[in-house]
Symmetry: C2
Subunit: 198 residues, 2 copies
DNA sequence: TTATATACGGAGGCTTCCTCCGTTTATCAA
DNA sequence: TTGATAAACGGAGGAAGCCTCCGTATATAA
């Protein structure tokens, strides 16, 4: 129980991996541009691969949607770690919140499809929520420890706030700009009352 | 300005109206059963009309979705009026809240499609929200006046609560039962502290 | 009952979905 | 390097869905 299933066989082919990544890249853009019902042939066309290649990597539409979503979440969690290593915790938090806006955009487009998936996907959702909570908690705790933000912030408060942002986002033009502004204000609020020292 | 555009021409054909209603009935069920991407041919098939008939009544997919949604909202608002006429205000409120659960179910299925519509639909949304607010306010005020529920309830509190229900509903099995239970509890809460008199 | 406006239904052209399989290519062993 | 071969590629093509168009049928009005 709990074994690494990998082992045997040769190294995966470089072109296979390349095309897979390429398809996810292109799919994310296409979903954002055209909507959740882009034809898969369109995605294959943009990625400059045959339709067969797309279907081999992602047997169903849901699979490619899940792949986009999963990568988005993973990148966001990774970004938290990387940001914490390369700059002061307060800045890291601020920067990460901005990245979150891009994540919302992806999620909004994909959500309908995600919602219509059954079983397996709720697990995908769960794990993504856990990843997010972990990332936020880390950022907030370090930022408090560094004296960059007020000490009475519960990480869960931020989860809540971000959730509301994600929900409340309308499709009206300029929501992205407005949300980014909101985040700046939020950061100001967080900073006021910070110890300021190290 | 403000004229009734109707007038001329003969009476609309009975079969036309019948088929139109039939299509909306069937579409609501089909959306719930199969999801927001049911083929329109499937809907026509179930309604036992030709595909051409469906397209004449609803030139686009969005049109039929809007029709289902609009009827749902309208029926809900009408039900409030009817319930208030046929039973004590407290019971009317309780019953109406139960109907609301069915409405959520429809809305959940349709929401993705509604969300992807442009322009015209946000108006549809707005008007539905106003209808809902009006219905709830009426029910709550009359129930308070009748002494069936505590007097310190703001109609808007209920709007808020229902909104949360609608959002928080997961796709997990049994949500409908659970939500109905929540509504019963909510009603108990509303009743406690009621004057009890007339 | 007749005339006709109105509604019906489905054939057919086009797009998308998805499978299948012959061709190409990256990896590994010699 | 060079071959052998597992792995990946790509697109033809059948099935299904989208939507239009128009000949047929029927409800309404005279």
């Amino acid at each position: 129980m709990g074994m690494m299933a990998e082992a045997e066989g040769r190294k995966p082919r470089a072109d296979g991996l390349r095309n897979r990544e390429r398809l996810i890249d292109v799919a994310k853009l296409a979903f954002a541009e055209i909507g959740p019902n882009v034809s898969l042939e369109e995605i294959a066309r943009r990625a400059e691969v045959g339709i067969g290649t797309l279907y081999r990597h992602f047997p169903t539409r849901d699979d490619i949607i899940a792949a986009v979503y999963r990568r988005e979440v993973t990148q966001l969690a990774d970004a938290a770690k990387r940001l914490l290593e390369t700059r002061p915790a307060g800045e890291a938090l601020h920067e990460w919140l901005r990245l979150f806006v891009d994540y919302i955009a992806t999620k909004k487009v994909i959500a309908p499809a995600l919602a219509s998936m059954t079983g397996g996907t709720s697990a995908l959702y769960e794990s993504s929520i856990d990843l997010m909570k972990g990332a936020i908690a880390d950022l907030v705790e370090k930022a408090i420890a560094a004296g960059d933000i007020r000490p009475d912030v519960e990480p869960f408060d931020l989860v809540q706030a971000l959730g509301s942002f994600a929900m409340g986002v309308s499709t009206s033009p300029g929501w992205e700009t407005r949300t980014l502004r909101l985040i700046d204000i939020l950061m100001d609020g967080l900073r006021s009352g910070a110890s300021g020292g190290h």
